[in-house]
Amino acid sequence: MKLTNLGYLIKEGIRGIFLHGFMSLAAVVVTVACLLIVGSFSCLVYNVNVMVEDLNKTNEVLAFVDDSLTDAEARSIGTVINQIPNVHKAEFVHRDKAWESFVEDHGNDPAFDGVDPKTTIRHRFVVTLEDNELMKETAAQLESITGIDKVNAAYEIARGFSTIKNVLHIASVAVIGVLLVVSLLIISNTVKLAMYDRKDEIAIMKMVGATNGFIRLPFVVEGFVLGMVGAMIAFFLEWAMYNALVEKLTVVDTLHLFSFVPFTQPELMQTMVATFVAAGLFVGVVGSWTSIRKFMDV
């Protein structure tokens, strides 16, 4: 194929969109519908993931300080703890403060009458981690610090969160994958119908000696444009729907059980743009490329 024909072929692809307006509209509508489903599910997965992450961060490790250390010596261990790579934050809690909150929780329990906090309660560090999957290793590192007597870590809870995250990840990949394949099949079928409409044109091109690449390119351009238009419409619709839904849920959710990431948050925005562009390109280009194969055997 000569480079000088490229302009003509691209023009033909775009002309085809308007020439077969109804089929083009059908392809865009189907793309929008499919991408909205994929996008909504991606948003849901993203938010659930963020919520699980937030919950996971509340799972703290307690590092108890040796009784024999003075207050100043105990506080100074914080510097060492903060140097452990997986430590997000280490907050020193004085034994008096710890006792206060203990009394707050169990104040009316007669079993603790006459207990001396100085001999019962120790200074401690409340440590939050960057990655709770490494809790066991980090706890071991904490235990090895001189001045740390004992470490309490809820490995089971950390493992539970990790499992939830992994299951969510696998499920989301599987569902998005299935939705994409379904979208591709629907788009492919729609493009196939559009091509059926033009099978005579393709046959004539083959008959006069057009190469397969020459025949394909306008259809691929058409698929690309339709895919991108569908992706753009779906993206803005998703944005509007997401905002409306979050607004409604915020009103309903008086207990603030859920926290939704705003659509404009850079990471979510980038994820959504990438998802829509990739999915639009994929269904448009791959859809038209695979559908035309059937009509090339003339």
Partner: protein, 226 residues
Amino acid sequence: MIAFSDVTKSYSVGTHALRGVSMQIEDGEFAFLVGPSGSGKSTIIKLITGELKPTSGTVHVNGYSLERIRRREIPYLRRTVGVVFQDFRLIDTKSVYDNVAFAMRAIGAREREIRERVPYILELVGLENKSRRHPTELSGGEQQRLAIARALVNNPSTIIADEPTGNLDPARSLEIMSLLQEINNLGTTMLVVTHERDLVERFGKRVIAIDEGLVVHDGTDGYYRL
């Protein structure tokens, strides 16, 4: 040149369309291919245009060996063979000019070449005043002229006309056949598939008759018997 040597073609359903066809059509020759329905004429056309490969034997068309041609060479073979069909196969959404230009664009011709060549070809087939019309606005004879123009525009060395007068009245049929003869006079090899005995006899050209997958007559006396 088109050369068939002991060509057989069997389809997977068990039909033996050709059973040892040998024939040769020289460059610049005019030949009629005649035979009843199901005799193997369409198979011969499909073999010439590379739509099919022979089961055995050899087929040479304008320098290409069809029994071992590679898929990506087929478009280049087809550029040497123009095909005209009974049902014209025009694109109704394109003008007369664009139907012809389309064939040139399909092989990657430059716009300048297209602007020069298309009017010349339309004049050759007598459609120079109808270039802005659409196929549906043309008569049957004119549509077939347009189909011939499209087959001719890429300057193929051979034209295969498959029942080109099948949808036309006798007067228009004669016009089309005369046009094909004129084109042949300019040096293009012409193979015309037809059922019309009157036309065949009137033009007195070479006749290759096929029946049940075999060449049963090959002569230049314009007469054939089936």
